[in-house]
């Protein structure tokens, strides 16, 4: 029954897309920004400088500092300078997640002294928001997973109902009201279909056991550790999955000098490549049973090898355990996860993912606006619901954009020594976002859109001015690139917002001349 299928899928596409579209836009926008999370981190801590010291030398600096200040600790963790994160940082005790928070101490690689950059939520905020929506972790991950399934439903139902998918492959007719919104929505969806399907499915594949524990429950009685152990090949099973933290409790080995860490870094670089060592985890430093795990920076392959590393004896410097090639099924899952994390392929690949992500956001955004524009023309539309939809559209699309750029502005304006600085950054972000919803509720749709988008554009364009004027740190290539990118995008956005009234006025004039009401005029 062909007709019926199209109708049911059309209904499903509309409602699934609308109700989950707001969440999905937030997920996609923050995910797109998270592609450059480390670069944003770097920009948001201008006190840090890139001393261009080799990771091996930096490792020795860190070792010296840790040996002086924390000789008795059972665990040291050293974040080595890398291409995307040229800072040197250390921490002691159990490994903890996230960056920019307490417990992580930044060191100047040249002087070996402690640096105190401003506390910031950084680019990590966007990454974290992307997969949790700032909800408590498990709830957030489930909410995002739910949205991801909705995205798949919307994608497939959209393909089913798009009859002229090949005919209208390159069709975009601007300045024609509802027709243009539909063209834009279709085009951004169809031309990037491989990306949309890939990014959504791989996102689910990351937390696949959390979302669907059925198989583990059936075959392993729910024992995930047993599943992971089976997944590791041979010798690797002896090494704990998360490496360090095997704090030898009562086993107090005799004191023995720790090998200079630069040697271990050099050995690890021989395997992973120069500059490809991201961190060192030292257990029991200064003792005979000391071990050092050298972890790679992700990027040499698609497979996500987070947590993998080379294990060395801390006293002799000899290699104990090298990473083994993964089992096929594990390799498959890790490649899928790696496709989502996009840590491979260098900056060209990163930019491809970023631009594709922006167009995905455009797809979702045009879909949301299309619904509102279409409803405005219907005689029997539920006007109250439509108002809610229109205000949410502005708040989620324009408002979130505005909040993101405000976060960057706030980083330079909030004093560096402000107590609970991260909380203030969060308040600024969510405060602006909340205000944008209020603004969207009070103003007419077109005005609200223009005002919020223009505000975001102006903030983006003037970010370099703010940065240069406030002169709060060294402007290196990475920071300048960020400023240039943000400003360029701001210019593009501003130009678009500027042109819209002239386009609408021209269309209205044309329709008035022909004696017809303009299509979608009230948008």
């Amino acid at each position: 029954m062909k007709g019926s299928l199209t109708q049911s899928m059309s209904w499903l596409h509309t409602w699934c897309g609308l109700l989950l579209g707001w969440m999905l836009f937030a997920i996609f926008l923050t995910g797109t920004l998270a592609v450059f999370d480390k670069e944003i981190n770097w920009w948001m801590q201008p006190e840090l400088t890139d001393q261009a010291l080799s990771p091996a030398a930096a490792a020795n600096v860190a070792q010296r500092w840790l040996a002086e200040r924390h000789p008795g600790e059972t665990n040291w963790n050293i974040s080595l300078p890398t291409a995307r994160a040229p800072d040197l940082a250390v921490s002691v005790g159990e490994r903890r997640r996230g960056g920019g928070g307490s417990g992580v101490i930044h060191l100047d690689p040249l002087s070996g002294e402690k640096i105190e950059p401003r506390e910031t939520i950084g680019g990590n905020f966007f990454f974290h928001f992307h997969y949790t929506l700032h909800l408590p972790r498990t709830l957030g991950v489930w909410a995002v997973g739910f949205a991801a399934m909705a995205m798949l439903v919307a994608l497939i139902s959209g393909i089913i109902i798009h009859k002229k998918i090949f005919k209208e492959f390159f069709t975009f007719r601007p300045a024609k009201g509802q027709r243009s919104w539909l063209d834009a929505h279709n085009a951004s969806a169809v031309l990037l279909l491989p990306f949309h399907l890939m990014i959504t499915y791989t996102g689910l594949a990351i937390f696949f056991l959390l979302y669907m524990p059925a198989a583990v429950n059936a075959l392993y009685d729910g024992d995930r550790q047993a599943y992971f152990r089976d997944g590791q090949s041979g010798q690797a099973a002896e090494q704990a999955p998360r490496g360090e933290g095997r704090a030898s409790k009562a086993v107090s080995a005799p004191a023995a000098p720790l090998r200079p860490l630069s040697e271990i870094v050099s050995q690890a670089e021989a395997h992973y490549g120069q500059g490809m060592i991201g961190s060192l985890a030292v257990s029991n430093p200064g003792r005979a049973n000391a071990q050092v795990t050298a972890r790679p920076v992700l990027g040499n392959r698609i497979e996500l090898t987070k947590g993998e590393g080379m294990l060395f004896d801390g006293v002799s410097g000899k290699l104990i355990q090298a990473p083994e090639p993964s089992r096929t099924s594990q390799l498959t899952q890790r490649v899928l996860a790696g496709l989502h994390f996009a840590q491979f392929g260098g900056y060209p690949m990163r930019w491809l993912y970023f631009i594709c992500g922006l167009i995905s956001c455009a797809m979702i955004g045009t879909g949301l606006v299309l619904y509102a524009v279409k409803q405005r023309k219907q005689a029997k539309a539920n006007l109250h619901f439509l108002r809610v939809v229109e205000s949410l559209n502005v708040a989620v699309v324009a408002g979130l954009l505005l909040a993101c750029i405000t976060l960057l502005w706030g980083n330079r304006l909030l004093p560096a020594e402000l107590a609970a600085r991260q909380d203030w950054e969060l308040r600024l972000f969510f405060g602006v976002w909340a205000l944008s919803w209020l603004h969207g509720w009070l103003r007419k749709p077109l005005s609200a859109w223009r005002e919020q988008l223009m505000a975001a554009a102006l903030l983006a364009i003037s970010l370099p001015v703010l940065d240069l004027w406030s002169a709060q740190g060294t402007l290196d290539v990475m920071r300048l690139s960020l400023l240039a990118s943000v400003a360029s995008m701001g210019l593009l956005l501003g130009w678009t917002v500027w042109k819209v009234p002239t386009v609408i006025a021209a269309r209205n004039a044309r329709s008035a001349r022909l004696g017809r009401p303009a299509a979608g005029a009230s948008s």
Partner: protein, 111 residues
Amino acid sequence: MNASALFASLLLAYAGMLGFCLGKERHWKQLVNPRVPTWLRRLCAPLGGLLLGLAIYASCQVWPGGMAVVGWFGLISLAGFALLLLLPYAPRLAVSLPLLGGLVWAAAALT
């Protein structure tokens, strides 16, 4: 990073998508001079496919193995999207871009 190969890959992706575009009657009529014989239109899509194949080859010079395929998908999608945006606003540029880009690439490759 092989910038020349990346640029070539992007150009070939665009040219390939342009081929598919011109192969459609609607866009052929929109973009091509009426004096050009219409049977040429049927060559456009296969030619486009060939160019996309060459784009994979160029992509393999930029990235190793599987990454090249991932990059290729991204490049053809974005090239297609760029073409889509150019068509209503700058149709002549849309058609002449591969040639112009090719000249730039050749000039850069020769210096």
